[in-house]
Structure formats: C-alpha cells, structure tokens
C-alpha cells in the first residue's frame, strides 16, 4: 500500500503548519471494516488489521490531552467505527468534552446502541453527528462499488438513525459525472424522502485516487502535486492538516487521508504532532482542489476576503 504513496523529497514541497488545532480525529476502528469498498482510500476490509482498534482508555487519555490545546471537535472514523466493541462508550465519553461526529457505513447499527446514544445526546450540550457513506441513489450505483446488498442495508441503517432523530448526514463519493450532479442529487433526495427521511442532509465528496481506488480508476499522475507556486494566495484553512490531527494505534498522524503514508506519523503525543507537514502526496492535490472535504458543513467557513484572520 505504501508503494502507492511515494514520498517526494523535494525542497520545493510546500510545508503546512498546524495553524489551529480545531479538530481531533480518531482512527477508532483502525482499518477494519465489514465492507470492502472498491474506492476505500485506505483499503479497509474485514481482514486488514494494519491499523487496530483504539480502546476507550486510549480515547479518554487523548480527550484529556486535547483540553489544554483547546481542541474543538472530535471525529471518529475507520474502517467501520461500530465494529469497535467500545464505540458507544467512546462517543458517550466524548460528548462530555465537546461535539462528536462518527463516520459510519450504517450497516451494523443496533437499536440498543442507538437508544443509549440518543439518551447521551439529549443529556449533552454538544451535537452528536452521524455521517453515513453511500454511493449514488440506487443499488445499481452503490453495490458495484460497496458490495452486493449494501445499498439496502445502509438504507435500513439510515432509516433507523432517522427513527432516533439523529438526522444523519449522507455522504456520497462522487461516482457520477459532475454534469449530472443536479439530477443525481435530486433523485437521491427524493428516494430518502420516500424512505421517511423528511429533511435529508447530503454531503458530496470528491473521489480520492488512493488505496483500492487506484485499482478501480487510476492513481495520481506525478504532475498532480502541490507546488510552492500553487500555495501563493491559497487559503490553507481549506486543508484538514491546517487544523486537525488524527490518533491511530501507531501514533498521531497528520490527517485522516494519509495515515498509511510513511511520513504520516508525526509523534506519539498530540503536542508532538504539532509540527509542519510537507504536502508531497497526490491526495494533497485533491484536498487542494476540493477543499475541506472531511469536516462537517457546520464547521465550514467560506474563503475570500472575509476569511482572512483579523
């Protein structure tokens, strides 16, 4: 896997500092997933244990560590977070500290968990966001990428989340031509309404050419790299590595996208991981083109003149 992510040792590679430690991510399920999506950018599967689960203890310790650093939001990803047997406790613990977002494929959710999370959410001052990944608006678009029957299963998960009033954000990697976007999104929204999701929340992500996605389409061309020239006048807050780090069982990495890259581990403590990172990877180019693809819409702030720090 690392072979697809060559480190380009070039002094012209632009460095990005952790300008503001606003988001702390957790690779809470490692690379373990019940699905094996073709476009999974870190090639997760039921057998890929190159990254393992994080324990409740480890998460608690990192949450405490994040307080003096003034971290704002906590994000949980994998793999499939709900394969981690302590996931419900982890989210409940996090809601004591701040807002929590969990990225799930919604195929393994249990009522008992959702009831406990709904109670914790009601008792917390902070938002608990569910983000569900799905591809397109039908089994025909979703299942060839995510696996036979996964569309129906994810839909059942979404309906369950809606029943508990979590208003999940449905995240779809763009697997259609951009010109078709309005139609695709319209049909998808209609479908969700028919399933009982009265006010669906959608977030479209660009396709990342990494991991299993390399086999499906193509990897990054060498020309698809960020140069120092390109960074001039660019709003760096559009890049996750400008305001986030991710905890994995191998240490604290630069961003959720590059955990497998040989240079991604920046330290063992959150404080250690507060150092600049060279944007030498093809995935960095996608971030550059598409902006803050990993954050929630509510954490957005537009570019432009007013976006400059005052």
């Amino acid at each position: 896997m690392a072979a697809t992510l060559p480190v380009i040792d070039d002094p012209r590679v632009p460095q990005v500092e952790l300008a503001s430690f606003d988001q702390l991510w957790f690779q809470v399920a490692g690379t373990l997933c019940n699905l094996t999506c073709h476009h999974c950018f870190i090639s997760c599967s039921p057998k890929n244990d190159s990254f393992g689960f994080l324990s409740l203890d480890e998460v608690q310790q990192r949450l405490a560590e994040s307080v003096p650093l003034g971290v704002n939001e906590y994000y949980f990803t994998g793999g499939e977070p709900f394969l981690n047997p302590q996931m419900v406790e982890i989210l409940i613990a996090t809601l004591e500290y701040g807002p929590a977002t969990v990225l799930t494929n919604a195929t393994v959710l249990k009522d008992e968990w959702l009831q406990r999370l709904a109670d914790a959410d009601a008792a917390s001052r902070f938002s608990l966001e569910f983000r569900v990944s799905i591809d397109g608006f039908s089994p025909e678009t979703n299942d060839p990428i995510r696996g036979e029957g996964t569309f129906a299963r994810a839909l059942r998960g979404i309906v369950k989340l809606v029943e508990y009033d979590f208003l999940p954000i449905i995240t779809a990697a763009r697997s259609w031509p951009e010109a078709d976007e309005a139609r695709v999104v319209g049909e998808f929204t209609e479908m969700l309404r028919r399933e009982g999701y009265r006010r669906p929340r959608l977030k479209i992500l660009p396709m990342l050419h990494l991991g299993a996605e390399v086999e499906r389409t193509h990897g990054y061309r060498p020309s698809e790299r960020i140069t120092a020239e390109m960074m001039k006048g660019f709003d760096r807050s559009q890049l996750i590595c400008d305001h986030a780090r991710i905890v994995t069982d191998r240490g604290v990495c630069v961003c959720p996208i590059l955990i497998e890259a040989p240079d991604a581990v920046l330290g063992q403590s959150l404080a250690e991981a507060d150092r600049p990172f060279g944007l030498s990877h093809g995935a960095c180019y996608t971030c550059y083109q598409y902006g803050a693809i990993c954050s929630n819409p509510s954490a957005a702030s537009g570019g432009g003149h007013a976006a400059r720090p005052t």
């Binding site: 650093l69 971290v71 208003l167 003149h305 976006a307 400059r308 005052t310």
Partner: protein, 264 residues
C-alpha cells in the same frame, strides 16, 4: 461609592430588517444604555437595504464589519457566508445580488470603512466585539459545536475576557474558566428558527462580579416586512421565514442539535 454599571446593547445581522431595527432601538432607548453596537451584516435577506443606515446614524450605533458588509462595500461577487450546499448558495446569491444592487454608493462607502473588530476595556475587563469569531469574520461558532476549551482558547488568543459575536443567527452564551465569557448576541434580521416571529438583541451589563447578559425579544411588524419583501420580488421562501419563524433556506450549515429544533 461604586460606579454605575456600564450597559451595552448589542445586536447582529440586521439583514435589512429596518422595522425590527426601529423597534429594537425604541426598546433600547426606553431602557437606557451607555452605548449601542451592531456586530455586522447590515444588509441581506430583507427589502430596501438603504433604510437601515439613517436609523443607525440617528441612534449613534457603532458598527463592526460583517462578511456581508465587506462584500457589499467592496462589490464582491458573493456574500462570503461560506455555505457549502448548492441550494443554500442559490438562495444566498439571490439575496446578495438584490442587496448589492439596492445599496447606494454612499452606504457602500460606509460599509467599506467599518472595522473588523472593536476592543473595549470596561471595568478592567477586555471586551472584543467581532462578527463571526475573533479570528475569522465568517466563522460559524454554534452553541452545540463549540467546546468550552476551544472557546477559552479563542478568548486567550484574542486577549479578551468577553467576546461578543453574531453571524450564526441564533443567540447563546457560555461562561468559561477564569471569568471569561463568550456571547452570541443573536440577530435582528430574521427569527431564530423556533416558530416564533420575534427577533432578539442583547443587553450586556458590566459592574458586578459577573458580566450580566440579558437576551431581549423584539416584536415588530413582521407582516409588513413580508409584504414589502413580496413587493420587491424577494423569494417566497424568505417571506415564509419572516411570517412563520422557521428557517426555510441555508439550513445545511446547521449542526444537528440546532437543525433538529427547526421545522425543515
């Protein structure tokens, strides 16, 4: 002898709602305050953007520049609200194009020169008035997605004990460690997505051990505002918000807790 407390009236987001502004200023006058501040976004959403400016001048309202004011003042292409949803952006653009086209050159010049922040020292407390957050004019700081330690860091980095902000359209406040405080003063321009038609401003009183914050509801002639919006050809969706108290557009930016409270 203790000095009389200092009382400020603060509001954000007028969004061209000159009727609510009039009502709020009348209420402020009745109560008596030491100063009145607007934390930005004078235009947007409502009709006749030019009508708010004389009211602000007559009542010595001191203004901070919001993202909208920066955009209109400098005739930029969009409002810089930073919405991420295509539908939200569609409505934001209608509102922006109308506001820009109907703001006079004189008022645009006024908007252009507004400061991005105002700093006060009251009762040995450092007070920062800004639009979105101390660090970004258009940053959304929502109640349900702001941890205490994050707000404390924002205050610390801004050298402020009390931060007064707006931008999100929904008021809230948080007491922080070391006597610090973060207050979103709400907006006059449109109701809070709670099914009530009134809007809000905020009284901040300095003097005692604590900074006292009181959110004040403002009733105004919303039916007239909605009628004038219709006459100006502004979207039916905007009028509906004014008439019902529920947001109908720009909803995707809301975190789940705030979204759940609304109707759409």
């Amino acid at each position: 002898m203790t000095a009389a407390p200092t009382r400020l009236a603060c509001f954000g987001g007028i969004y061209s709602n000159y009727l609510a502004l009039e009502a709020a200023l009348a209420d402020v006058r009745r109560r008596g305050v030491d100063a009145v501040y607007c934390l930005g976004d004078l235009g947007a959403f409502g009709p006749h953007p030019d009508r708010v400016f004389p009211l602000l001048a007559d009542h010595d309202v001191v203004c901070v520049q919001g993202n909208y004011d920066d955009s209109v003042g400098n005739e930029l292409d969009d409002c810089q609200c930073g919405y991420v949803d295509p539908q939200d952006n569609h409505f934001a653009q209608i509102s922006y194009d109308y506001t820009l086209a109907h703001t006079s050159a004189e008022h645009r010049a006024y908007l252009r020169q507004l400061p991005a922040e105002i700093r006060l020292e009251i009762d040995s407390r450092r007070v920062l008035l800004c639009h979105g957050s101390p660090r970004r004019t258009n940053e959304f700081v929502w109640e349900s997605t702001a941890s205490d330690h994050f707000l404390e860091r924002l205050c610390r980095e801004a050298d402020a004990d009390v931060v007064l902000a707006t931008h999100t359209g929904i008021k809230w406040q948080r007491q922080l460690a070391e006597g610090r405080q973060f207050v979103n003063v709400g907006v006059l321009g449109r109701p809070e997505n709670d099914g009530r038609r009134n809007v809000w401003y905020t009284l901040v009183e300095f003097g005692g051990d604590q900074v006292q914050v009181e959110f004040v509801p403002v009733e105004y002639d919303f039916a007239r505002l909605a009628r004038e919006m219709a006459d100006e050809g502004l979207p039916a969706e905007f009028q509906e918000t004014i008439r019902t108290g529920w947001w109908t557009t720009c909803l995707e930016i809301l975190p789940v807790k705030e979204r759940r409270r609304g109707a759409f």
